[in-house]
Point group: C2
Chain length 363, copies 2
């Protein structure tokens, strides 16, 4: 088991990465403020892993409740959140009860937001079971639900007490989900960690083959990048925004097509290529840089172009209502070089439109 | 104009109390992160005061949006909150736009919670227009909406950037609302400020007659107590809980009767007398102490008994699902003496039931 710390003063917390962690209740017990916890999971993950985690806690004397929500980004909404609140109130959970998120990014986001709001805040623990959530969404305290007019529009910063990334849970992950998670892994290399990017270029097939050592290394190096950024900028007033490379375009793809059509990581992959193309138009990247990025995403089995169904006009409309607008200008994460990202509003709208067009459809 | 500070480090903020403040946009301008604000008010307050505030800001070059919600505790719920989100997203508000709550406690609570969650947090300003909100709910950053199973169950701690208490707005406040606000004013005297309690015993009729000097003094001395408690215990891990004197019983009354039947302050008044009666049963207060408290609330025109319609069993059931339960025991704010409150789980359930019975119905 590898352990990293997210350095946030009195809210610092560990990330454990390794095999067989679901059954190691001794890692969770010291963090519970009362011997009571409620696990939130979804209909896909619960049958596979909920008993393993809950039974381990129960054997240690913890009263464990269970809430199972439907699986899918389209359920990351108020009605699902409200069913969590209903259950917490009906079972008389207190503000010192701990909520545990067992699942992917959707479960983590909605459970974290429930924990942030229930009685104005209760402790929670992240037990991510997808590559995407293990390398990205479970770390850093961003929680949210979607609004019909925009993704992650309603949420809170609420840090977990612990992140437990059991790599055994990746054994049942669909190939498509594994590839989608790789998009966020590659992102860390692109924005700030060239040596990691080079390691990924050498190792992407080993990760796709789920070699345990390759998975642990990819997750640990990703979390180290994420933890460093979060510790430096918890509330996204600066550096943390770099984590949104590809996300402004990606969110437009997800919202424009309807949640669930493209996976988040797939949309981010295509969005990253649009951002890379735009960086090339601004003269910051060379053609070979864009090809290098294109090549790695292709080897990871990810889309490198946006969907044909989405017009440039629709992209721009959706991006305007996203959170990345400040004082009326589009603030985008772009690449100054491979391995170095920057937040910039330097790109005129015409150039943004051109990059989208060049990287959309069957091209 | 009197000014107090809530000492919360880099989140410290001023409370201004005085006449004619709605028109003094220079008090708000330095706090806006962009020249854009949205005022949230209700159908009762908006026709009276919204233009005064909004026009003053517009004359200073601020783009001011307006959102008017229905008036009443029964609208402090998710559907109303969601209409605020709809409007913020539709008008493309950014996370640096400032939300301004213009109204009583309900408007302040729901607007503050909207600000806490919109894009994971935007700045907000409290402009309370009722006595209750000027002396209590606008200060301290507690925001929430109600859930059908409990009051204020869903919320956040989110501090305002400024509290602007314009006492002129009390001129249009219904007598019943003014009296309800007095319940929270008296509370400060009872829990920690005997000199203030004695001043209130000498001045309650002047406050009810709305003498400007008496109003300003009552509000300032209340806010000084509230600010002191909040600065010492922002997240209610200790002393802040004392502010809930009478509230556990009061919430049971409000929820049990259905929101809006009794005003919050009325329920708190009756709840405070139940807490005082219970303190007497425990031997902490004498009969004359309870009579003294009873007398002051009567002079303030407030109920000193719970409603006949609510059974003891229903109280206990409702209190169990309130936030004041820890490890299965009822934690109540009780009075060790007049002017000194304490959080205690010393009262057996039988004594709690006896106190409710003695202080319920027509007696």
């Amino acid at each position: 088991m590898e352990t990293l710390m997210v350095a946030l003063g009195d809210r610092a917390y560990p990330i454990h990465v390794g095999r067989g962690l679901l059954e190691r209740s001794e890692l969770l017990l010291p963090l519970l403020r009362q011997p009571r916890a409620v696990v939130v999971s979804n209909t896909t993950v619960a049958p596979l892993y909920l008993n393993r985690l809950a039974d381990s806690l129960r054997r240690s004397g913890v009263d464990v409740g269970e809430i199972v929500v439907p699986d899918g980004e389209q359920f990351k909404d108020w009605p699902t959140l409200n069913t969590i609140f209903d259950r917490l109130i009906e079972s008389r959970c207190e503000r010192s009860t701990t909520l545990i998120a067992l699942g992917g990014g959707v479960v983590g986001d909605i459970t974290g937001f429930a924990a942030a709001c229930y009685q104005r805040g209760m402790p929670f623990i992240q037990v991510p079971t997808t590559l995407l959530s293990q390398v990205d969404s479970s770390v850093g305290g961003k929680t949210a639900i979607n609004h019909r007019l925009g993704k992650n529009m309603i949420g809170a910063f609420h840090q977990p007490r612990l992140v437990l990334a059991d790599t055994d849970t990746l054994g049942t992950l669909a190939d498509r989900e594994l590839r989608a998670g790789l998009a966020e892994v590659i992102k860390y290399g692109l924005i700030r960690d060239l040596p990691f990017l080079e390691w990924l270029e050498a190792s992407v097939e080993r990760i796709l083959a789920r070699e345990p050592d390759a998975l642990v290394e990819a997750i640990c190096r990703s979390c180290r990048n994420k933890a460093g950024i979060v510790a430096a900028d918890e509330r996204e007033t600066g550096e943390r925004a770099l984590l949104n490379l590809g996300h402004t375009f990606g969110h437009a793809i997800e919202t424009g097509l309807g949640y669930g059509r493209w996976l988040h990581g797939e949309a981010v992959a295509a969005g990253t290529l649009i951002a890379a193309e735009l960086s090339r138009q601004l003269g910051w990247l060379g053609t070979h840089d864009v090809e290098r990025i294109d090549d790695l995403f292709r080897r990871a089995g990810l889309p490198v172009r946006g969907p044909a169904a989405l017009s440039v006009e629709r992209y721009l409309e959706l991006m305007h209502s996203d959170k990345k607008v400040q004082d009326g200008r589009l603030r985008l994460v772009l690449l100054e070089a491979v391995g170095r990202a920057v937040v910039s509003d330097a790109a005129p709208l015409g150039e943004v439109a051109a990059a989208i067009t060049r990287r959309s459809g069957d091209g």
